[in-house]
């Protein structure tokens, strides 16, 4: 009889893994639709950034309360997955709690530790649900969070709560079965959290308890795999992508704008400065700047998939704070939606700039870097905004009129204002004024 369950188990695990692999491949190929960007240098600093920021949650602790709750979920996620290892082995071999006899009393300690973490996760998820839906923290109620994004945030919290309950319920029923000496239910010792639920189960028959225990077990394993697939469609992809995303962080000073080498080559030849590799046919110059998601670098696309939609960027953005339409979080969400569409072969005739993000939004950006500073996983919405400004300025000549006159002032007067360059040194005449 158990071999049937073992076969079912293999199918239950294999199907989601199949979908998961397909989804991972698709996301990878979507990210690779982006333009080249070299982030292969300084691997020591990159590991450091990843360890501190993704693994160590360093930037989260700018806001201590959510940081602490998030840490509980994060540690819970990492550690409780060790228990899943036992689930997998049991499922494949048709055993129950295969580690228990080998680990002896340590098994009890480990299980108790897992239960405390499960409780921590439960409390954090409930607190987060309250923050989102009752307290309504402002950054969760911005326009871009309407509909699916809000639902996504809540769904994951509810799913986690249910999964944690399933574990506790399973352990409670298991303990009752153990106490009755039912075959196959090895002694785990007292489990502190789930034993609180024992009174609920004590009066049921063995068979019913086995159904509850097995039911919770299956629910948990199916839940975990379903969750894994779901995550790839959700902002919760950050639980994996935060790591590569911080590894490939921008390590330059925040104020530095990445040079456009294609422009350098052209400017040099205009000024008659010898260009290295001149004489070779010029490398194909694509569009200057970005009109669509595929004009962005792969790193920007990876960031779009990594964004947790937490809105810390938007809540620090001076333009957003003063009621402008710009929201750096929305820039990231739009980029992700757009590259998903492109990857799925949908959305012909649309572009990121124009159909998703307007000029009004990008023009309001002050390049202040508050968003990049605020992002807990080092996402850089500013670079996407800048690429679009570049497209508008260089491909469309569509910058606001006053910027166009600023450009022509710089060209003709060598200053952004309309002053005569010969007056540039006039300030020195005031040097010896007594005032």
């Amino acid at each position: 009889m158990t071999w049937i369950l073992q076969v079912v188990f293999v199918v239950v695990v294999a199907v989601p893994i199949y979908f998961l692999i397909g989804r991972i491949k698709q996301i990878r190929s979507n990210i690779l639709l982006g333009k080249d960007l070299d982030r292969s240098d300084r691997s020591g600093d990159r590991w450091k950034a990843m360890l501190l920021i993704a693994f160590g949650q360093k930037k989260m602790f700018k806001k201590p309360i959510p940081a602490f709750l998030h840490l509980l979920i994060y540690v819970g996620f990492l550690v409780i997955n060790l228990e899943v290892l036992e689930f997998l082995i049991d499922g494949l071999l048709g055993t129950h709690r295969i580690f228990a006899p080998y680990l002896g009393s340590f098994y009890n300690i480990a299980m108790n530790f897992f239960e405390f973490l499960a409780l921590g996760v439960l409390i954090s998820c409930i607190a987060f649900l309250i923050r989102r839906n009752v307290i309504k923290v402002p950054r969760f109620t911005k326009p871009e969070m309407k509909g699916w994004p809000a639902m996504d945030g809540n769904l994951i919290l509810i799913i986690e709560c249910i999964l944690m309950f399933a574990i506790l319920k399973m352990n409670a029923a298991d303990q009752v079965l153990q106490s009755r000496g039912v075959a196959g239910y090895v002694d785990t010792g007292d489990l502190m959290i789930s034993s609180l639920f024992i009174p609920l189960f004590q009066n049921y028959s063995d068979t019913f308890l086995i159904v509850i225990e097995r039911g919770a077990w299956w629910f948990h394993i199916i839940g975990i795999f379903a969750f894994a697939v779901y995550v790839t469609y959700s902002k919760h992809l950050h639980i994996f992508l935060a790591f590569p995303n911080t590894y490939y962080s921008n390590l330059e000073p925040k104020g530095k704008i990445q040079n456009m080498d294609a422009v350098t080559t052209e400017v040099k030849s205009m000024l008659g400065i010898p260009v290295k590799g001149a004489g070779e046919p010029p490398a194909e110059v694509g569009t200057f700047g970005a009109k669509d998601a595929t004009d962005l670098s792969w790193k920007s696309l990876m960031e779009a998939y990594s964004c947790t939609e937490c809105g810390r960027c938007t809540s620090e953005c001076p333009a957003n704070q003063t009621g402008k339409t710009l929201s750096p979080r929305k820039v990231m969400m739009d980029t992700r939606d757009r590259i998903e569409d492109i990857g799925a072969g949908k959305g012909e005739g649309k572009t990121l700039l124009g159909d998703f993000i307007t000029k009004e939004e990008i023009n309001a950006c002050t390049s202040c870097n508050a968003c990049t500073e605020a992002c807990p996983i080092n996402i850089d919405p500013l670079s996407i905004i800048l690429e679009m400004k570049r497209y508008v300025a260089m491909e469309e000549s569509g910058s606001p009129a006053s910027w166009n006159s600023m450009f022509s002032n710089i060209e003709t007067n060598f200053a952004p204002w309309k002053f005569s360059p010969t007056d540039r040194f006039n300030w020195a005449q005031d040097l010896n004024d007594k005032n």
């Binding site: 330059e252 000073p253 925040k254 104020g255 530095k256 704008i257 040079n259 422009v263 350098t264 052209e266 400017v267 040099k268 205009m270 000024l271 400065i273 700047g289 001076p318 333009a319 704070q321 003063t322 009621g323 402008k324 339409t325 710009l326 009004e360 023009n363 950006c365 002050t366 390049s367 202040c368 870097n369 508050a370 990049t372 500073e373 679009m388 400004k389 497209y391 300025a393 260089m394 910058s399 606001p400 006053s402 910027w403 600023m406 450009f407 710089i410 060209e411 200053a415 952004p416 204002w417 002053f419 010969t422 007056d423 540039r424 040194f425 300030w427 020195a428 005031d430 040097l431 010896n432």
Partner: protein, 262 residues
């Protein structure tokens, strides 16, 4: 101070066969903006008082290209940058001091990719260096105990991690330094960066500079100190629109120091 205050140009010095130790990069605002010209003058006075071997480019200086680049016009930026690099290299400039965080950021971080390598220092860091070395002594007085609040320029702070130098200079004035609610890494932009200085703001509920000015006024400070020409303009406008210009001054750190030294 009976000596005349001088701002020699690099070209003048070169004609005499001299090269200055430091180039003072004045910037467009420092050259043309009436208010910021006073900062340029104040900083030049400090350099004179301390006998710093410096020169300016004078009429040969040109926009670094920063506003063009940030508004998306990479061509124009690079044209400006290459021309400036040619000039700086011709004069064999090694070390640059500037009172503009935008010029500072561009010269320091962005010119190297185009072949322009210099040691670039913002004037607040430079002044702190002189204080640390003991070359610059402030007897205090003018600002003793006065409430001063410092507005972080995005291009100095978040862009280049310079938060302490301006504060240390202010502390040397024996002033009572008070912080705004949003400061340092969480500082609020004045609203002028990224080329915003040169166009009207997009529609919203409020102008950014008004929001920031309100925050500065909330501290009760009588002086709002800044280290950036854009911030200075935006905050001065903000103070004016709140009709507080009689009580609250917006001053550059160099001006405060120059006043304190007299």
């Amino acid at each position: 101070m009976s000596d005349t205050i001088k701002a020699p140009t690099v070209a003048e010095l070169q004609a005499k066969g001299e090269t200055p130790e430091i180039l003072f990069w004045v910037g467009c605002a420092g050259s043309f903006d009436d208010r910021y010209k006073r900062v340029t003058v104040a900083f030049t006075k400090i350099l004179n008082k301390l006998n710093v071997n410096f020169a300016v480019l004078g009429p040969e200086e040109s926009c670094t290209g920063d506003p063009a680049r940030r508004a998306g016009n990479e061509f124009l930026f690079q044209m400006q940058a290459m021309a400036n690099i040619q000039l700086l290299d011709m004069y064999q400039v090694k070390k640059i001091v500037t009172a503009c965080p935008h010029c500072f950021n561009t010269l320091k971080n962005e010119y190297p990719d185009l072949g322009g390598n210099y040691e670039v220092i913002h004037h607040t860091t430079f002044l702190q260096g002189l204080l640390d070395e003991g070359k610059l002594k402030v007897s205090g007085g003018a600002f003793k105990g006065q409430k001063i609040t410092y507005h972080d320029s995005c291009y100095l702070g978040r862009a280049n991690d310079i938060y302490e130098a301006p504060r240390n200079v202010l502390k040397s004035l024996d002033a009572d330094l008070v912080e705004m609610k949003r400061c340092k890494t969480k500082g609020l932009c004045c609203g002028a960066g990224g080329g915003q200085m040169f166009k009207d703001a997009e529609a919203g509920d409020k102008e950014i500079n008004i929001e920031r000015t309100e925050e500065a006024l909330d501290t009760g400070a009588k002086v709002i100190a800044s280290g950036c020409p854009f911030c200075m303009t935006m905050l001065s406008d903000g103070v004016k629109s709140k009709e507080k210009e009689a009580e609250v001054q917006v001053k550059d750190i160099a001006e405060l120091l120059d006043d304190a030294m007299d």
